[in-house]
């Protein structure tokens, strides 16, 4: 099997061959990430130039720069990658994505790593997956986001010390109508849940 070094999309047959039984843990992990992303992330085309980390506003607080993380992925260092805070520091501002000379879908790759880490309970930052879960459960319930429920639950659980400083502002937001106490439920919420359940099934998630 040859490794594509060009930036053009891989032909269908090649993509199929790539999914043949693998021995190389890096390739297996790459496949896993592609599967989780739902799209071809093109991570295998990374040339380790470091443009991503150099463009990243939160790289200084990452335990591995994006470039490092991609090298680790390709080296099959699954445990270390899933334990990394790097994807959780990604703000998906797409500076890296528009600068990447290999057109890698970097934020989508980060989301894919996060989704695997969250499912396996390996995220180094408990607040990250928990915020997402609370947000998502509101969408499943109402079809829309519900700020009051989200922030109250999230801050009580993760940042109780931030509450005294923020509560007056929160009350101000309620008073000025910038937060609604009552969530809006869409009419088609049952259909929406059916769509999400089917997608979760296809994604291999319970």
């Amino acid at each position: 099997m040859t490794v594509a070094t060009h930036a053009a999309p891989l032909p269908e047959a090649h993509v199929g061959a790539h999914r043949a039984p693998l021995t190389d843990p890096g390739r297996a992990f790459l496949d896993e990430i592609t599967g989780a992303a739902g799209i071809e992330t093109r991570l295998r085309h990374c040339i380790q130039c470091g443009t991503c980390g150099g463009s990243c506003p939160s790289a200084a607080d990452m335990d591995h720069t994006p470039r490092e993380l991609f090298a680790m992925i390709r080296a099959g260092m699954r445990d270390a990658v899933l334990a990394s805070n790097t994807p959780w520091m990604c703000v998906s501002c797409y500076f890296c994505a528009v600068r990447c000379p290999q057109d890698i879908h970097i934020p989508d790759a980060m989301y894919a790593v996060k989704s695997i880490a969250a499912r396996e309970g390996r995220s180094p930052n408990g607040a990250g997956p928990s915020f997402s879960r609370t947000f998502v459960s509101n969408i499943r319930r109402f079809g829309r986001s519900y700020e009051v429920g989200l922030v109250v639950r999230h801050y009580l659980r993760h940042f109780p010390l931030r509450i005294p400083g923020m509560a007056p502002l929160g009350i101000g937001m309620l008073a000025s109508g910038r937060m609604g106490l009552v969530p809006h439920r869409i009419r088609g919420v049952r259909g929406l849940r059916a769509i999400l359940d089917r997608a979760a099934e296809l994604e291999g998630r319970p």
Binding site: P107, R133, R144, V151, L169
Partner: protein, 348 residues
């Protein structure tokens, strides 16, 4: 003459960004825009659905695209006012067009809810882009009855309007000047602001405060240093981060910024002669009253927002008194070297 669009407001327009919704409604008439809300739309998932299940996120977004496709009536352009909603909708549509594997999975998910979507059958655009491209700065300027002369405004576009740019609408993805021109058309003084498309931190303020607040501080600090009266934004998330979290930034870093953040529609409304109250001005956490008083705009007093606990601790030394947060130490070990299949073949 009026341009008609399908409209995806997104959740924040009826909550944290109500002022955006109010002011948008006020300027639609003069701009000649008619917006038809997509019936029974659902949340775009923000960054959170992508974090837990990217395929579910694409399916979630596709329901909106399917509803929009069904509601096409003379127009197939969906306008989103929130930058994150815009990117989620536009990006999913692009991926569905490009990736048959994703498409068949999303088709199957939509079918479970009795829907179908033909990728590319609607075009997704950001409200800001529609205003500057379709309406144009000249037409905007022609409606100005109260120029914002003397008001120094930062045109902060934020990251997601020109990036990732799934449909290649922007040649300038990092330093587009369109927002500068729009602010200029309103008669305001445009502050040169190279951070125009830097990130507000998105949801980091909710999950990793130290990093998130630092990103917000950078933006506010740079605006203040450049003598700005206020920051203009086109995104509910940017406004929320820069406005609502500004007191916490002040507490966290021991600084005392006061930089109001208004939506571009609010500034357009003001310049078109609308009353501040009708534009939702006064609902921001960091009040724009003083800044607007300087150009003779009176904002009626609303309920005072209570001072956050501990906000008075800052001694007014400003940002220069802050010692920078220590950055992570560089790791001693080098890069892991990926094993290439060619190496393995050579070993055999």
């Amino acid at each position: 003459m009026s341009a008609s669009f399908l409209y995806y407001p997104g959740c924040s327009m009826s909550a944290t960004a109500r002022a955006y919704a109010q002011s948008l409604e006020a300027v639609c008439g003069p701009l000649g825009i008619a917006l038809h809300e997509i019936d029974d739309w659902n949340c775009c998932g923000a960054s959170e659905y992508l974090t837990l299940g990217p395929l579910q996120a694409h399916a979630l977004v596709s329901r909106n695209l399917a509803l929009a496709e069904r509601q096409r009536n003379g127009t197939s352009t969906v306008v989103a006012s929130c930058s994150l909603c815009y990117v989620n909708l536009a990006k999913t549509d692009r991926y569905l067009r490009d990736d048959p594997a994703l498409r068949s999975k999303v088709d199957s998910a939509l079918a479970a809810g009795g829907l179908r979507y033909d990728p590319g059958s609607v075009t997704v655009r950001h409200l800001f882009e529609v205003v500057v491209r379709d309406i144009g700065c000249d037409r905007v300027a022609s409606h100005v009855t109260r120029p914002l002369s003397g008001l120094k405004v930062v045109p902060y576009l934020g990251c997601l309007v020109s990036r990732p740019d799934p449909d290649d609408r922007w040649t300038q993805k990092e330093q587009p000047r369109d927002f500068d021109r729009l602010i200029g058309a309103l008669g305001a003084e445009v502050v040169d602001y190279p951070l125009r498309t830097d990130c507000c931190g998105g949801h980091l303020s909710q999950i990793t405060a130290a990093t998130g607040l630092d990103l917000i501080r950078r933006l506010i600090d740079a605006a203040e240093r450049r003598g700005a009266d206020l920051i203009a934004t086109v995104c509910p998330m940017c406004q929320m981060n820069l406005d609502f979290y500004q007191p916490e930034v002040n507490r966290h870093f021991g600084v005392s910024h006061h930089m109001p953040v208004l939506f571009f529609t609010q500034l357009m409304g003001l310049a078109f002669g609308e009353a501040p109250r009708a534009l939702g001005i006064g609902s921001e956490v960091v009040s724009a009253r003083e800044a607007l008083a300087r150009i003779g705009v009176e904002v009626p007093v609303a309920e005072p927002v209570p001072e956050p606990v501990g906000a008075g601790v800052a001694t007014g030394t400003g940002e220069r008194g802050v010692t920078p947060r220590p950055r992570r130490e560089k790791k001693p070990q080098g890069l892991p070297i990926p094993v290439m299949p060619a190496d393995k073949e050579a070993e055999r």
